[in-house]
């Protein structure tokens, strides 16, 4: 099981699980247009669900990917992370497919080769006031959905075993447009406001 150190550092919502959040073998949104969402680009600041402030810098890269540089802020700030992501819209919902590359300068998991075979789906919403919220799949709910056959996937052994959704792209995208699919996403782990 991969330790998801950025979770410990930035995404405090996952502190309890201390393992990699659910991943999808295929990125979300391959059946729709995967284009970088221009609304994201720029710098955002906000707080994790446990109140820790951070800055998110979303940088457009060649090839349509977005680099996210996430830097902790406030007293005793010490952590930073490098994430690459793509974005896609499925109906009215917008998703990121995130891959952690570096945590404090160290390849996630200590070795790029141990990266999970997939990407972390993140549901993001921007409300009328311009507040951006980020939600990842709840691990327990995702495992329950896999066990119930609602979505195809694998679960590693043990309570801390990682969940991987292995559904084909079309099935995945279809599922994530249903209430059952969207219900897998937990409460936001970050709430951000764009820095003008």
């Amino acid at each position: 099981m991969n330790k998801f150190r950025v979770v410990l550092a930035v995404m405090a919502a996952l502190l309890l699980s201390a393992c990699y959040p659910p991943v999808t073998r295929s990125p979300v949104g391959t059946t729709a247009a995967q284009t970088p969402d221009p609304v994201l680009l720029g710098t955002w600041k906000g707080n994790s669900s446990d109140g820790k402030p951070s800055y998110f810098h979303f940088l457009l890269q060649r090839g349509g990917t977005i680099t996210a540089i996430i830097v902790e802020s406030g007293p005793k700030a010490e952590d930073w992370n490098y994430v690459t992501l793509t974005t896609a819209a499925l109906g009215a919902n917008r998703f990121m497919n995130a891959r952690m590359l570096l945590s404090n300068g160290i390849p996630e998991g200590g070795d790029p080769a141990v990266q999970p075979n997939g990407t972390v789906p993140v549901l993001y919403r921007i409300d009328a006031k311009g507040v951006l919220t980020l939600s990842m799949m709840d691990e327990a709910a995702t495992k329950a959905a896999i066990r119930a056959g609602k979505i195809k996937g694998t679960i590693e052994k043990g309570d801390m075993g990682d969940a991987v959704i292995t559904a084909a792209p079309a099935a995945l995208d279809k599922f994530l447009q249903t209430p059952a699919g969207l219900a897998l996403f937990a409460n936001p782990f970050f709430t951000l406001k764009k820095v003008e």
Partner: protein, 200 residues
Amino acid sequence: MKVPSFAFVVLAGLSLSACVSVKEPIGTSVGYVNDPALEGLWLSAPDDKKPPSYIHVLANDDNTFTVVGVAQKHGDDKASWGVLQVTTVRLGANRYMNVHEVSEDGKPKEADGPDANIPLLYTLSGDTLSLFAFDDKKTKDAIKAGRIEGKITQNKFGTGSYDTVAITADGPHLDAFLKAMDAPDLFGPVMVLHRVPPPR
């Protein structure tokens, strides 16, 4: 001397410091202690052409700083980010930092030797951080006058030439020299950063 390309984007002013190298980082004879006044987020002074860059200064347990700099895409300039490692030292009343580029856009920089280190003088005034680099001409004059051991090499470039200035004094001699009250006179301004108040 090799100039970090990241510096051109995020710490553009540092490129000016590329003309003078030091044999050893500043402060090796006294050791490094992180200056807590540097911690936090800084913005480069915006100009008419470019938006400010974000400079995050994060303190490490080993008395080094990790600096994460981010510049958004602007015009033809692509978005860029980089990581620097910085040590700080106080010599007398003067404050110095040694800047070492670690990576640019996620790719490690493998610069080594004297060229890998950018020595800077810095001052803090309220929420303003000013960075100064060795002034090429003044440093050459100091070397010629025998005030500090160094080497001036003339290099041909096209039809013209330029000088490479290397301070070759060892650590203790460099530190003693830079402790003097008038040592800042050898430096020229390269950039100004403004502190972003920490989130409440």
